[in-house]
């Protein structure tokens, strides 16, 4: 079983549209392959909007703890606020000089718990979100919803991927397609860990080029082989050429150019992959080509 992760660095380059097209092509394309989908963008998960999933299981995801002060035991010494490095405890918020915890700012480190001379503080685990096992239009989908303003998105990503992997192993699936989050930080590292191949979806813009470099440095840092596809490739030819030569210099293969087409947005509005709604178009053709080359590359990777 192989694991493919779709990344981008910059947001909005088309990761989810590519992932949805791959889900469609895996199920109904020329060379069907049994695939499980995992949406690793847990704080802005959009894959479900295109795969129309029926949720089969819902599970709570518990995040870190939050400090809770027992105001009867508290003697207002202020030590908790002093040791907190996350500005999560203030002494003037209430107007009475008593400590108040800001649960959003609280990091869950429990430093205050151990310093409180009257043991008035304890940690309470918070539900940080949910994860779901669903049956989507093209097969199983694992996805999640991190509650807004929560931490631990990396942990939730790991949970979603673990569950996808367990199902895939139990049922002889050949591939896990992970739709990754933007950026290069904690949730991206969690999404990429254990992958056999990364497909990086970029766009020919100053920002796209800049962030492509950052995400390629990240995949190299973790020893993850990567391919690049250029979305909206005809929007700014000069930058497309820059990306091509940059990738050539780095020894990274560019596996496709997807043209800018308003039908990509139209398909999203219909809630369908563009390869399904607009089968015989340059966009769909280029996505099929990218998919074929990704499968060939996955065949070549060990594991």
């Amino acid at each position: 079983m192989k694991q493919l992760v779709i990344l981008s660095g910059k947001g909005g380059t088309g990761k989810t549209s590519v992932a949805a097209a791959f889900a469609h092509l895996a199920a109904e394309g020329e060379h069907p392959i049994r695939a499980v989908l995992a949406d690793a963008d847990v704080d802005a998960s959009n894959l479900e909007l295109v795969l129309n999933p029926t949720v089969l299981e819902t599970h709570k995801f518990m995040g870190g703890g939050v400090a809770v002060i027992d105001m009867d035991a508290c003697e207002d010494c202020g030590l908790c606020a002093e040791v907190c490095r996350f500005d999560a405890i203030s002494l003037d918020e209430r107007g009475d000089g008593r400590p108040l915890v800001d649960p959003i700012a609280c990091d869950g480190c429990a430093a205050c718990v151990y310093q409180c001379p009257t043991q008035a503080i304890h940690m309470e685990l918070q539900q940080a979100g949910q994860w779901f096992r669903s049956e989507g239009r093209y097969g199983p989908l694992f996805h999640a919803a991190l509650r807004p303003a929560q931490e631990n998105s990396g942990k939730l990503v790991t949970m979603v991927k673990q569950q996808a992997r367990l199902l895939a192993l139990d049922n002889d699936y050949e591939l896990i397609i992970v739709d990754g989050p933007p950026g290069i930080g904690c949730p991206v590292i969690s999404a990429a860990s254990g992958a056999d191949l990364a497909l990086i979806v970029t766009e020919p813009s100053a920002a796209g080029v800049h962030d492509l470099e950052r995400v390629l440095q990240t995949t190299e840092h973790f020893g993850l082989p990567a391919l690049v596809c250029i979305n909206k490739a005809d929007l700014h030819e000069e930058a497309t050429v820059t990306i091509e030569s940059f990738c050539r210099d780095r020894g990274v293969e560019v596996v496709g150019h997807i043209p800018f087409d308003t039908r990509t947005t139209q398909a999203m509005v219909q809630g369908l992959p563009v390869t399904s709604s607009y089968y015989d178009t340059p966009v769909a053709n280029s996505l099929r080509q990218v998919w074929t080359r990704v499968l060939a590359a996955l065949d070549g990777e060990g594991g």
């Binding site: 947001g11 963008d41 802005a44 909007l49 480190c109 151990y114 303003a149 933007p182 020919p204």
Partner: protein
């Protein structure tokens, strides 16, 4: 006034809006902070001359083996499994450490001191039009963006770093524009917290709407007034408009789907350079935001 620009979904035009808003205001009293430390792009549009740079990170424990008795108290208090005692060894895992200092405070032998674990850099400098700009950049392979954003914001508010962000103006900014990263989790919350207003940039598509809803929950939870800018107006459907009307969010600006704008931004040109008429539109937007925040404070 502090205005954060956020979106939920990536690529909706946060940086386009943040940079052009900053460029439309009085350069002498405006500070722009790029808080998308994972994928920072605002400098591409503003071309700052960075004159100041500092490595930043968190304080992680350093154990003095000659004092350590391997009692394991540090590992017991650490909520993140970042320090462990195995036999006659106390091991620190910097990538798990949150820098809270609890192990140092709890060590009965005072065997733990702290050292800076560098996770990224802060940079600052003026742009050609005199606007002052600062950003944080997370080092590749580092998981935690929040400490960089926190220090970028502290640097600006406290103005007592060595040297300060801008010797003459530290803490005297009339307007601070903060460009957030995509998503709705900790880096975005860290950026938006403490702002007077949040501009939510979205696009009229199902993805844009889905993530806008989540971002609206975040600003409600933080109790910050917000307004919406619809970018690529005309690209999808009208459900974003319907949603804004339902929840009473003002739509403060619309930027049409226009290939020439898209191409200009792809080349790294600010919107106000591609379409100079937007300077007035952004100034009007700023006055609208002033009215809304004054209303909220009344």
């Amino acid at each position: 006034m502090r205005i954060a620009v956020a979106s939920g979904k990536g690529g909706t035009g946060k940086t386009t809006v943040a940079t052009s808003l900053a460029l439309s205001l009085d350069a002498a009293t405006t500070l722009m902070l790029d808080c998308d430390v994972e994928a920072p792009n605002a400098h591409l549009f503003l071309a700052p001359n960075f004159e100041w740079q500092e490595e930043v990170g968190i304080l992680i424990p350093e154990v003095d083996e000659s004092l350590c008795t391997y009692c394991g108290r540090c590992a017991e208090v650490c909520q993140f499994h970042a320090i462990a005692v195995i036999g006659q060894n106390t091991l620190v895992f910097p990538e798990l450490c949150h820098g809270c200092g609890s192990c140092t405070l709890n060590c009965p032998e005072q065997a733990i001191s702290e050292k800076l674990d560098v996770m990224g850099i802060l940079e600052a400098g003026p742009t050609p039009n005199g606007l002052y700009f600062a950003r944080g950049v997370l080092n590749v392979g580092e998981p935690m963006a929040v400490p960089i954003i926190r220090q970028l914001k502290k640097w600006e508010t406290e103005g007592d770093s060595q040297p300060p962000i801008h010797p003459d103006k530290a803490a005297n900014w009339e307007t601070i524009i903060l460009d957030a990263s995509p998503g709705t989790s900790c880096p975005v919350v860290e950026t938006v917290t403490g702002s007077d207003f949040v501009l939510l940039v979205t696009e009229p598509t199902p993805f844009g709407l889905h993530d806008l809803r989540l971002m609206v929950e975040v600003v409600h939870e933080l109790g910050i007034p917000a307004g919406v800018i619809i970018n690529r107006d005309g690209a999808g459907n009208d459900q974003v408009d319907q949603f804004c009307a339902e929840v009473g969010l003002p739509v403060l600006m619309r930027i049409p789907l226009d290939r020439a704008i898209g191409e200009g931004i792809a080349q790294g040109k600010p919107l106000v350079t591609i379409r100079p008429e937007y300077i007035d539109r952004f100034r009007r937007l700023y006055r609208q935001i002033e009215d809304i925040t004054q209303g909220a404070n009344r």
